[in-house]
């Protein structure tokens, strides 16, 4: 059965696009046929993070408006044969998206793919509401800081009110993905604690992705972190999150400050 997943957050810069690419690649590695869809019309980025920016011909708007066929716009990943990208248009703006157009594209994708992973733009306007409109599952990406958590709370409210499922009286399955988690800063109490975030948002935790330079490096070379360095802590966190999305029950580990321990053991002498 095909599932439509929206990666959303409200706030910008929390890691939606990185998470979309990583979760899409992880689900594909687990053997599912996956399409990642960039809804950030006008400010597209997912093609860069996926390393497909030089192969974009047609885009979501072209397909939604009937100017191109879906198979013409889908870009197959060079590393994973069951991972596809439907890029956003850079030259248009979000008003070019219509509910009917999006519904038709999602409908077509549902026939071909196991997972449709939609990368939502920031904000709560048209682009974001259309990205979540037809979702079955939502991954709410948040950083452990107050502004991000409050925006996520707002988004959860919209998921419960503005999605097609909500209007049918059903529920969108919601998961929290905490990203850019800095164990050192958490240890010093400079970030919201995981328990506090969970208490505020009261949705189940899908995973905690540690802040890492490796993620930045992967984005810069146009590779999802899962494929760039599968052994990195972030890649493992995303892989486990993808497994949980597929229904596997794995305990979530809160990243600890391993370097902190090292510094505590040996750093004092140096200092």
């Amino acid at each position: 059965m095909s599932k439509t997943l929206v990666v959303t957050s409200g706030k910008g810069g929390v890691g939606k696009t990185t998470s979309t690419a990583a979760l899409g690649a992880a689900l594909a590695q687990l053997g599912h046929k996956v399409a990642v869809v960039d809804f950030d019309v006008g400010l597209r980025n997912l093609d860069l993070v996926m390393g497909a920016e030089r192969r974009v011909v047609f885009d979501l708007i072209n397909v939604a408006q009937g100017d191109a066929k879906l198979h013409q716009a889908l870009i197959r990943d060079k590393r994973l044969s069951n991972l596809y990208l439907l890029p956003a248009s850079q030259t248009r703006d979000k008003d070019a998206l219509t509910e009917e157009g999006v519904q038709q594209v999602i409908g077509e994708l549902r026939e071909k793919f196991d997972w449709i992973v939609c990368d939502s733009p920031a904000g709560i306007e048209r682009g974001a509401t259309l990205a979540m409109r037809f979702a079955d599952v939502a991954v709410v990406v948040a950083n452990p800081e107050v502004s991000s958590v409050r925006d996520s709370d707002r988004i959860i409210g919209l998921l419960d009110a503005k999605t097609e499922r909500a209007e049918r009286g059903e529920r969108v399955e919601k998961h929290l993905l905490l990203t850019r988690y800095d164990a050192q800063r958490a240890g010093r109490g400079e970030m919201l604690a995981v328990d506090d975030v969970l208490e505020i948002l009261s949705i189940p935790l899908l995973g905690i992705v540690p802040e890492s330079e490796e993620v930045l490096r992967a984005s810069n070379v146009g590779s999802p972190i899962i494929l760039h360095n599968a052994m990195s802590a972030a890649a493992r966190a995303y892989m486990e999150a993808a497994k949980r999305l597929c229904g596997e029950e794995l305990p979530v580990k809160i990243p600890t400050d391993r370097r902190g321990l090292f510094v505590r053991l040996f750093g004092r002498r140096a200092a």
């Binding site: 709560i124 107050v146 409050r150 925006d151 709370d153 707002r154 959860i156 409210g157 919209l158 419960d160 009110a161 209007e167 208490e199 505020i200 009261s202």
Partner: protein, 265 residues
């Protein structure tokens, strides 16, 4: 710097008489009759605030929008909706009203069709007769011309109980009774109740009790981290709430025109 005469802005509830229009199914027929009447007295609804009561209709949310559009196209200004699930409240719809009751009828009018009358001091005799015409032509039997009550809400008003957390950006408005939330109220969310507010979770947003002037209303919460507390229009902002009740389970009430807060345990 200009000084405000009072330290706080007061906001209070007040009720006004309002004309209520009750569409009936089938809607095509109802609109036909409405159009017929509007050709007879075109100015009847102009510059009046009208509340649409859809309690008798079984409507989807999308159909409701269409209905309101059709009414609006006839020059009827809709100030509110009644008989709608409060959870439908959104920017696209007029404000949802609850707790309206028909104006008591004078004994002389209490005949077989008392509700067809809209006798009220706010209507001129000609309007009254026009309203009777409309009510008769529409063949409404209930209380279409019910002029919403100008009396304070009934003490037995039904409570509103929410089993889910109230999210940032949500606004819960329950003018006639208590509001109970089983869960937390997020920062950026607000609860307005005619009666008391009970929150079995953390209050991070705003809570306003006694929004209609009920001075006995109180706010109770399991953990106080509120942005604003208000009882009967008198409010305290987060900065004014003393530190020794922060993050505590508390109750807040009105005493000598100020909001008092005390710990519950």
């Amino acid at each position: 710097m200009p000084q405000a005469s009072s330290k706080h802005i007061r906001f209070k509830g007040r009720s006004f008489p309002v004309l209520t229009l009750e569409p009936e199914q089938p809607l095509e027929g109802w609109f036909e009759q409405l159009d017929g009447l509007l050709t007879q007295s075109p100015a009847f609804f102009s510059r009046k605030s009208i509340v649409i009561d859809v309690a008798k209709l079984t409507l989807e949310q999308s159909e409701l929008g269409e209905l309101l559009e059709n009414i609006g196209r006839r020059g009827i200004r809709i100030m509110g909706l009644s008989g709608v699930d409060p959870s439908w409240a959104c920017d696209a719809l007029p404000p949802i009203l609850a707790g309206g009751r028909a104006t008591p009828q004078p004994p002389s009018e209490a005949d077989a069709t008392p509700a067809k009358d809209a006798s009220s001091g706010t209507l001129t005799p000609s309007e009254e007769s026009a309203f009777k015409d409309i009510a008769n032509a529409l063949g409404v039997s209930g209380s279409p011309g019910g002029v919403a009550s100008a009396m304070p809400p009934a003490p037995s008003a039904a409570p509103l109980i929410l089993l889910e957390p109230v999210r940032s950006g949500q606004s819960i408005y329950h003018p006639e009774g208590d509001v109970t939330v089983i869960g937390s109220v997020a920062s950026g969310a607000e609860i307005m109740a005619g009666g008391s507010v009970h929150i079995y979770g953390t209050l991070r947003g705003r809570a306003m009790a006694g929004a209609y002037g009920e001075k006995r209303a109180r706010i109770f919460c399991r953990r106080l981290e509120a942005e604003l507390l208000s009882v009967c229009g008198v409010y305290l902002t987060a900065e004014e709430i003393s530190a020794n009740v922060q993050s505590q389970s508390i109750q807040a009430w009105l005493e000598n025109e100020t909001v008092k807060i005390a710990r519950l345990d």
